[in-house]
Amino acid sequence: MDIDIFRSETRAWLEANCPADMRTPMGEDDICWGGRKFEFRSPAQKQWLEVMAAKGWTVPAWPKAYGGGGLSGDEQKVLTEEMQRINARPPLQSFGIWMLGPALLQFGTEEQKRHYLPQIARGEIRWCQGYSEPGAGSDLAGLQTKGVDTGDHFEVTGQKIWTSYADKADWIFCLVRTEPDEKKHTGISFLLFDMESAGVSTKPIKLISGASPFCETFFDAVKVPKDQIVGARGQGWTIAKYLLTHEREMIGAADSALFAKSDLAEDAVSAIGLDDTGRLDDPMLRAEMGQFLVDEICFDAHLDMTGTYMRAGHELGARSAELKYLGTELNKRRQSLRVAAGGSDDLVWEGAANDGGQAAKDWLRSKANTIEGGTSEVMLSILSKAVLKLPG
């Protein structure tokens, strides 16, 4: 289809179908995560999800047969631009969209794709990711959760940690050691199972920001039917790595409410004021902010180029580590500058003032950005080996 026609049709459709309440800035509480336990914040939020899902536009790049929009790279870009034009909120965000979906498209059986993908696209099932364990953080492949073959199913026993929103999720995609005699990387399988299965329990972890987005997750002899394995036995690490590249792109691209983008310059002026020459009345902070602003312009240009590159059909592969490293380090600087500019106002923790201490909470939350999904140091190690080919 001619791209200009697609643009005008998309614009008209969004005008007609995007509720006014879904065209306003959103906070972390306004995200639509979907799933069996999800409570919509408004009828408009529910309606917006339903009309977008019916069009396949919650996952515009996925094939139509699996609930997607089947859009080309150029069409996806137009849809994004047209949604931004009217400040339309994302109708649905989820780990299913960002991580499991791409992995299933790559490694799933036809039956698995037809079963799981449309549920993700419609926001019916909310997924969580069972990767890290108490003894397997940066050394993820050292994981010990067991999956014992009992004939008709795997019996899963062990513990996961840092499972994002495990207490709110319906299903989990989980790395489990099913081949104890194989080597570290080739003994892992990728299993899918219902969080309501007997033997699954979760416990939220309270963070320094006061929030509890992560959980400890326990498995006590959980029975997982054998057709709920993705890929072959022992192929789990390959799938996990593929999926991690998507997670890193997502974190690096700041494609979520983890990265509150306030106007740093405006905030700094209102808190600190300008000197007689019209410069921020704090030369050291101003200099640091100048470097940050140039780096932000640079990273935005890089994201834009990367997006064009990927829409042209290229995979980032190990280079997702580059985006993850740059994007998260930059966001930590942004949040630090924000609270430094805010001074004692941004020490507010509770109460109505200063948006309930949002700046302080975002600042603390941002410290996890360079840890979750692989630390900055792990990213640099990946790049030095996989891209620069430095000796191991």
Partner: protein, 371 residues
């Protein structure tokens, strides 16, 4: 490592630039010029003109290729990588942009000459050690019905070989761009060898007689031409610097893969691996920013000044990181003239000062954001 997609024309330019410069105009050729003390060499000019590169941004109607700044940036990157000495940035880009956008018969004639390699034209705008093109004391004045130009310009790149200079001057409150013959009475040129073994000089104008027709643009028109010229020059200088930084980084990665100490390859040390990988990430993102700045010039969109200044500022920092890390990771041998790293470091340093350093352009970004 490039993620910036190129058109067919652009890919062709990139490939031919890489091949042509590597074979015969590479670092060995630069070393020969350096040893001969021949800092004002323009022997490559006929070949650059033959390939159309001197007219790469000059419109086809004026005898150029009109392929635009993105394509020019690809050439500049290869010039940097090979340390090739040429009047590409001064004449093809700065003067080419100024003359093509100034309009008028005389400007167009000189643009044609640049494109075919018949002339080298350069800019004379700096008046002090730091690039501040807005601070101008050079003046055009009228006495007894005749116009004269007086002032002093410094860091005039390729000033020693130029056939014409485009001089920024004030006429009352108006900015003027004046085309001056360096052979004219009252012009004194003092050329010197700079640390990058290239030619740049000081030019003094003492009541140099000029005609009204020598004023290429005045007032608002001159400001527009100068702004476009500076943006183009900055983006292309950043692209040349990117080529230098990438070459320095690649030599360094290779050294880490092959140099042994303590009985192991030094690339096995995580302290070095992480610094190398950080450099790689910085090069990747500044590469995107420079491409975006060049695209903005080609589209002539509203982001031109922000992107070109950010690119120049960021590249100054990454260029320094690449060359300093290169020397440091090579150790003692990195300090020797035998290795290329020192040559990269010197050229990088000169390009950082040329058309404004990181502080100058970062200051602009801060003012633009109202702080």
């Amino acid at each position: 490592m490039c993620m910036e997609l190129l058109s067919e024309d652009q890919q062709l330019i990139a490939d031919s630039a890489a091949g042509f410069l590597r074979d015969g105009h590479g670092i060995a050729a630069f070393r020969a010029l350096k040893e001969a003390g021949d800092d004002a060499n323009s022997a490559i000019l006929p070949e650059l003109a033959e390939m159309g590169w001197m007219g790469i941004v000059i419109p086809e109607a004026l005898g150029g290729l009109g392929l635009g700044y993105r394509a020019a940036g690809l050439i500049a990157e290869e010039l940097g990588r090979n340390l090739t000495v040429s009047p590409f940035v001064s004449s093809a880009i700065l003067a080419g942009t100024a003359l093509a956008s100034a309009g008028g018969e005389m400007a167009q004639n000189w643009a044609r000459k640049i494109a075919i390699g018949d002339a080298v034209v350069t800019q004379a705008m700096d008046e002090a050690a730091k690039h501040r093109p807005e601070r101008i004391t050079t003046t055009v004045s009228a006495a007894a019905g005749a116009l004269t130009l007086s002032g002093r310009k410094t860091f005039v790149v390729d000033g020693g070989i130029a056939d014409r200079l485009i001089v920024t001057a004030k006429r009352g409150d108006d900015l003027c761009l004046v085309l001056v013959d360096p052979q004219a009475a009252g012009v004194k040129r003092a050329s010197q060898v700079m640390l990058d073994h290239r030619n740049a000089g000081t030019v003094i104008f003492e009541e140099v007689p000029i005609a009204e027709a020598d004023i290429l643009a005045q007032g608002r028109a001159a400001e527009d031409v100068l702004a476009k010229t500076l943006s183009a020059g900055r983006a292309i200088a950043a692209a040349e610097q990117l080529g230098i930084a990438k070459a320095a980084a690649e030599q360094t990665y290779e050294y880490l893969r092959t140099r042994k100490q303590f009985g192991v390859l030094i690339g096995q040390f995580q302290a070095l691996q992480h610094r190398a990988a950080d450099l790689y990430c910085e090069l990747a993102q500044v590469s995107s920013l420079i491409a975006a700045a060049l695209n903005a010039l080609d589209e002539d969109n509203a982001e031109v000044e922000t992107l070109t200044r950010a690119a120049k500022a960021k590249m100054a920092r990454v260029g320094r990181q690449a060359t300093e890390e290169g020397v440091q990771m090579h150790g003692g041998i990195g300090m020797t003239d035998e290795m290329d790293l020192g040559l990269f470091m010197k050229r990088d340093r000169a390009l950082t000062e040329f058309l404004g350093d990181a502080g100058y352009h970062t200051e602009w970004v801060l003012r633009q954001r109202g702080i």
